[in-house]
């Protein structure tokens, strides 16, 4: 038996993980019983993997920074403006925009499950759904923020929003002074996903020189 064959099997076990097999079994049963259209499942995955994500929220924040009229609408008529722009929908039917100020930093969590504004941020990252974040964000937000590299000065209060109902919260971060004068498209690059949850602050986009990709 060729030696390299054996090595390859060792490096990559071909057996799917147990949960993967369970999902496959359930999907097969549901499909055969006419309870699921696998093409619909594919379409849902495609939308959340490729189209609905934090770049939508970043565009809204950047526009709010350069256009006070839009910002007023985004804060005061959130569902109306999101619907007009085609960014409403599932898990974002009732969005409230909470604005960071020098006096108050906002942080969003869902302690009971994993509620998150899907139409503007996509599906939540693993840490947002973790026991550690769900448990600690409400009780020790400042310590949790340090774990994200964010230090909130003592004079700035923190308001933690626990998403216990169908209201979804989107943080409108403060525009960094270093970014003043940039246009909307450039500013969107400063708005990373975490600053719209409150676990990050806007920062200059990563460049090819600073990234590893």
């Amino acid at each position: 038996m060729p030696h390299d064959h054996h090595d390859e099997a060792h490096a990559h076990a071909l057996l799917p993980s147990e949960p993967a097999l369970r999902v496959k079994a359930l999907e097969t049963i549901l499909t055969r019983k006419g309870l699921i259209d696998p093409a619909a499942v594919d379409a849902i995955i495609d939308l959340y993997e490729h189209k609905i994500g934090p770049r939508i929220g970043a565009g809204l924040v950047a526009r709010a920074w350069v256009d006070p009229g839009f910002k007023a609408q985004l804060v005061n008529n959130t569902d109306g403006i999101l619907s007009d722009l085609g960014f409403g929908g599932r898990q974002g039917e009732h969005i409230v925009v909470v604005e960071n100020t020098p006096d108050c930093h906002n942080l969003v969590v869902c302690t009971l499950c994993s509620c998150y504004p899907w139409p503007v941020l996509g599906v939540p990252p693993a840490w947002y759904k973790s026991d550690a974040y769900r448990s600690r964000a409400v009780r020790e937000p400042r310590t949790v923020l340090v774990e994200f590299g964010v230090i909130i000065p003592p004079e700035q209060s923190i308001r933690v929003w626990d998403s216990t109902a169908e209201i979804r919260y989107l943080v409108l971060p403060m525009q960094p002074t270093e970014s003043y004068g940039l246009d909307e498209a450039a500013l969107a690059g400063w708005v990373h996903r975490n600053c719209m949850i409150g676990t990050g602050l806007p920062s200059a986009p990563r460049t090819a020189a600073s990234g590893h990709d």
Partner: protein, 225 residues
């Protein structure tokens, strides 16, 4: 007793932030579970409150040992069995022996996916009466079990915010009540409020200047003395 899903304020480990280049889904099967759950929900045989109830009532050992999407998968499987769409035997042997069935009425088709996601399902309902509480008023939260409509039941009042005094920050109008809706006992819409608590009132080690806001239905609250 505090249920295992209600973990706000519990001691826990460090939060592990992700990296900018991490994929949206860690595993291929994670996407499948998400897609199946969303598609199954669109069938209309249950609602989002039912799904939450079935996830949080997974046995404690399973809830604590399952990864996130395993919880979704386990709850979805249980729901399909509980609603009579799939049998325990079919799940146990992982196979449906009968002939291929046509797609049932109401099952989400691929072409309908973008519209279904864009439409969502609003939880707001027309107002029935003036909300009982006004902005700035002090309210006292009840105990989670006292807000349930059956046992074991469903509530969205976390234990850390129970039996505490907070302030009405704003009112969201009438919203479907999860406590009844989860068990098909009717939508029973009620005024929904954002209630703000001082961290120092929630925990002995809470920072006095920091606040926690919890969305509470009217029946979770009584006017504070």
């Amino acid at each position: 007793m505090k249920p295992h899903h209600d973990m706000g304020g519990d001691p826990s480990g460090l939060v592990k932030p992700d990296q900018p280049d991490d994929p949206v889904f860690e595993q291929l099967w994670h996407k499948r579970v998400l897609g199946l759950t969303v598609a199954a929900g669109a069938m209309g045989a249950w609602n989002i409150d039912t799904s939450r109830f079935w996830r949080e009532t997974l046995p404690r050992q399973d809830y604590q040992s399952f990864s996130y999407y395993e919880k979704w998968l386990a709850a979805l499987t249980n729901l399909f069995v509980a609603k009579g769409f799939v049998t325990r035997d079919e799940i146990a042997c992982g196979y449906y022996a009968g002939p291929q069935q046509n797609l049932r009425d109401g099952v989400l088709r691929a072409a309908a996916v973008p519209l279904m996601l864009a439409a969502g399902a609003k939880a707001s309902r027309p107002a029935i009466a003036e909300p009982l509480f006004q902005r700035g008023q002090k309210v006292h939260t009840r105990l989670p079990d006292d807000t349930k409509k059956q046992m074991p039941g469903h509530t969205r009042l976390p234990h850390y915010a129970a039996d505490k005094v907070g302030t009405i920050l704003f009112s969201h109008g009438y919203h479907v009540l999860p406590n009844s809706n989860a068990h098909f006992l009717g939508e029973c819409p009620e005024p929904l409020y954002s209630v703000e608590f001082s961290s120092a009132d929630l925990w002995a080690d809470g920072n006095g200047g920091d606040k926690v806001v919890v969305d509470c239905w009217q029946s979770y609250l009584v006017l504070a003395e």
